[in-house]
């Protein structure tokens, strides 16, 4: 079986872009990825475009702007995992021998499409009684507090850490360090969360170009190519009895698939980019991925172990809390960050000696299902 490599990465500024369109953001990220790869765009054979609240065939609109019309392209919607699912499409095309070079991107002009708190699907029975995404995660936080003694300050520290990392990332939505007191004093959203426990509504796009090992050997730059060793995807299972909301079975199973495909275990991973849509989410993801024992990660954050320069850095890019969360762009931006770190191109955020990175996305909610779509990708230098 062939190996798959990331050969080009591109990302727009994340933030509010009132004067841009979904397609223009996507095109900017794709052009950057093509330039970063140093390729003639005509070597790209297939494409996948992730987007959630955007017009139909947004992917084709992007292609038209970058001179890539004609190739097979599919638009992909998997809520917050849309971009990561698009990458998996390119990954599978290369594994299957359908393409030597494939393009995946995620683009979202979210401020133009949405305001306020997200809800599950419109007809969802939980949305009908007042569920919002912050409320669902706030309930998980409350339960985690009850079971493991998590404190409000420990939760706040996750936001402080990620916004500190974001301040070192020129493409991040947030540019300012904050304090624990800032988090505690923020406007309440769903208790225990205030505004700074929640990822922002951001616009942005990110793109990657993937290529087969053979292609990299013949045409690529092996010094800058980073191996995508696994791209796993699972769907949440219907619960046959009330389950735990403090341990993510879906994340755990998706990670198991990814570790198996990559031939590595959690003990081999040096750092992580995880789906911290809310402060509690970073805890649930990291523990679900098997990187820390259940109930221990909040203490590790308190000791600085998850900082850049710590034992196990988490969300060096700033994560969703700091870098921003343009839904479908998020999963692709995580792979952009992993690639930068593993190439040694992460500048002020560089994690020294990192060899193996893991990215986790989780999106969507439906009544009676633990979660909708989950992706785990492993990159190896």
């Amino acid at each position: 079986m062939t190996d798959v490599y990331v050969i080009g990465i591109g990302m727009t500024q994340f933030g509010k872009h009132p004067d841009r369109t979904t397609a223009s953001l996507g095109a900017e990220a794709v052009r950057k990825a093509i330039h970063d790869a140093g390729i003639d765009p005509r070597v790209i054979q297939t494409g996948y475009a992730g987007h959630v609240f955007q017009p139909m065939v947004t992917g084709q609109q992007v292609l038209a702007q970058v001179g890539l019309a004609g190739i097979p392209l599919a638009n992909v919607e998997n809520a917050c995992s849309s971009g990561a699912t698009a990458i998996r499409g390119s990954y599978l095309d290369i594994l299957a021998g359908v393409a030597d070079v494939s393009l995946a991107f995620g683009t979202e002009h979210l401020t133009g499409a949405f305001k306020g708190a997200f809800t599950p699907g419109e007809d969802d029975p939980e949305a009908a009684v007042g569920a919002t995404m912050p409320a669902v995660y706030a309930m998980r936080a409350r339960r985690y507090m009850e079971e493991f003694g998590l404190t409000r300050e420990q939760l706040a520290r996750i936001s402080v850490k990620n916004k500190r990392n974001a301040a070192l990332n020129p493409l991040a939505h947030f540019k300012k360090d904050i304090t624990i007191d800032d988090v505690l004093a923020a406007r309440p959203i769903a208790e225990p969360f205030g505004l700074l426990d929640c990822s922002p509504v951001s616009d942005g796009a990110a793109a990657v170009v993937l290529a087969s090992g053979d292609w990299v050997k013949r045409h690529g730059d092996p010094a800058r190519a980073v191996r995508l060793a696994a791209s796993a995807l699972r769907t949440g299972e219907v619960e046959t009895a009330p389950g735990s909301m403090t341990f993510e079975v879906l994340t755990h199973k998706t990670a198991r698939d990814a570790y198996e495909a990559a031939g590595v275990g959690p003990e081999d991973v040096d750092f992580a980019e995880v789906h911290d849509c809310f402060t509690i989410a970073e805890i649930l993801r990291i523990e679900g991925l098997g990187l820390f024992e259940q109930g221990t990660y909040p203490h590790a954050v308190e000791r600085g172990e998850a900082d850049i320069g710590g034992r196990f850095p988490v969300n060096p890019s700033g994560g969703l809390l700091g870098k921003g969360h343009p839904l479908a762009a998020t999963g692709v931006a995580q792979v952009v960050e992993l690639t930068k770190q593993l190439r040694g191109e992460a500048e002020d955020r560089q994690i020294e000696g990192a060899r193996v990175g893991i990215a986790h996305c989780r999106g969507g909610k439906a009544a009676g299902v633990e979660g909708a779509a989950c992706t785990v990708q492993i990159l190896v230098r």
Partner: protein, 135 residues
């Protein structure tokens, strides 16, 4: 004025309201393995049995977790308490909790209450549900 006596449920597939104002949530029960589901399902996720029974769900349960919501969609006035209640089937159902935010606690016993939810186009009261303290 309305001529029909049957109260209007906000979501008839999930909540049945009787003429006397009592009501119950509607779920599925697997006749093979006994698993319960809310909302209703066509196939059992545990054993793939296809002919699930539609059943009234128990009215009582305990609070698994909760939050006080301060920002929501325009359809809801804030703040409100929202929670997951583990009914005695067992099956977990989300609902608003009619308990003072200062007094709500994980593990507390709750029961289903049928409450006015709004009015329909014909001016009739539409009924929804919340969970409140056991009387």
């Amino acid at each position: 004025m309305t001529t029909t006596k049957t109260p209007v449920s906000f979501r008839p597939r999930e909540l049945v309201v009787a003429e006397d104002g009592t009501g119950h949530l509607v779920g599925s029960r697997c006749p093979t393995c006994g698993a319960h589901y809310f909302p209703t399902r066509e196939v059992c996720a545990g054993c793939l049995t296809e002919d699930l029974e539609t059943v009234p769900l128990p009215r009582r349960g305990t609070l698994y977790t909760y939050t006080v919501v301060h920002q929501s969609t325009p359809a809801f006035e804030t703040p409100y308490v929202l929670g997951y209640v583990d009914l005695e089937a067992p099956v977990r159902v989300m609902g608003q909790i009619d308990v003072d935010p200062e007094e709500v606690a994980i593990g507390m016993a709750l029961e289903l209450k049928i409450v006015p939810w709004g009015t329909d186009d014909e001016g009739r009261t539409v009924w929804g549900y919340r969970f409140g303290g056991v009387s």
